[in-house]
Amino acid sequence: MKLFVRLLFLFAFSFTVISTPPTSAQAESVCSFKNRTVKPGLVHWHKNFDDACAASKSSGKPVILFQMLGHLDQEFC
């Protein structure tokens, strides 16, 4: 029972920390930042992994999936 209460407390505490809303100044700063759209290099990208696999079936070329945090067509990525 004690363990359950402890776990419940820990969960509630971590939820409070993670979900603490930003201050109005922080929120304004976050909202006003616009990540500019840019050209994602000179590579002819398929729209998604499924499209690339479909193209691979007909071309015989392997697929490259470039995984990343953020978007390749944004300035900050």
Binding site: V17, I18, S29, F33, N35, P40, G41, L42, V43, H44, W45, H46, K47, N48, F49, D51, A52, C53, A55, S56, K57, S59, G60, K61, P62, V63, I64, L65, F66, Q67, M68, L69, G70, H71, L72, F76, C77
Partner: protein, 190 residues
């Protein structure tokens, strides 16, 4: 990297490329005062999966590379893809490759970054890239080979979290990507 003409031409000619965002990128803003503000992201949290037409993963390049070293790695992986595709037993061939039992160049090479330095000249930035590439090839890729040698077949979605956690040190399920403690810590008594 994908703005490099030679690399883009090579990729367009030999691969079917696509990119996928896993989550928003953390953007750091440092305000130095006097109107000087530095904004940047944390680089290097990328992974390139080489896959067959059915989506099965052949190999993965973890982390950031320079254009020349990336192309050099892709050239090797193109040969591996062909080898696996034409093998009688695809799974056995792929496992043999990941266990280092095939004639393909061994992983762990520290010379992979050299074409970069030769092509672009020396600079602090290139030295950093070189260090990243050597780290990718000697430390991270053996982990990838080990992971893939133990699987018969896998698609990127099945292995993404493990790749990021074990090779890039990033827990994608953590909203603060492991930086939570550093961001919220205070001196005792505050």
């Amino acid at each position: 990297m994908f703005s490099d003409k030679k690399l883009a031409k090579y990729i367009n000619a030999n691969f079917e490329p696509c990119w996928e965002p896993l989550r928003p990128v953390p953007i750091l803003t440092v305000d130095f005062g006097d109107g000087r503000v530095l904004k940047r992201t944390l680089h290097g949290n990328i992974a390139s999966y080489i896959c067959e037409a059915n989506g099965q993963v052949i190999d993965i390049l973890p982390g950031i590379y320079g254009p020349r070293s990336y192309e050099k790695c892709l050239q090797g992986l193109l040969s591996v893809a062909s080898f696996v595709h034409t093998a009688k037993d695809r799974d056995a061939a792929l496992r043999a490759y990941h266990m280092g039992k095939t004639p393909f160049p061994g992983y762990g090479s520290t010379t992979i970054a050299e074409p970069e330095i030769v092509a672009l000249g020396g600079s602090k930035f290139l030295n950093d890239i070189r260090a990243d590439v050597i780290n990718n090839e000697t430390i991270k890729r053996p982990v990838i080979h080990n992971m893939l040698a133990q699987r018969h077949s896998t698609i990127p979605a099945d292995i993404t979290n493990e790749v990021y956690k074990r090779t890039l040190g990033l827990d994608l399920t953590d909203p603060y990507l492991g930086l939570g403690d550093a961001l919220s810590c205070t001196f005792p008594g505050e």
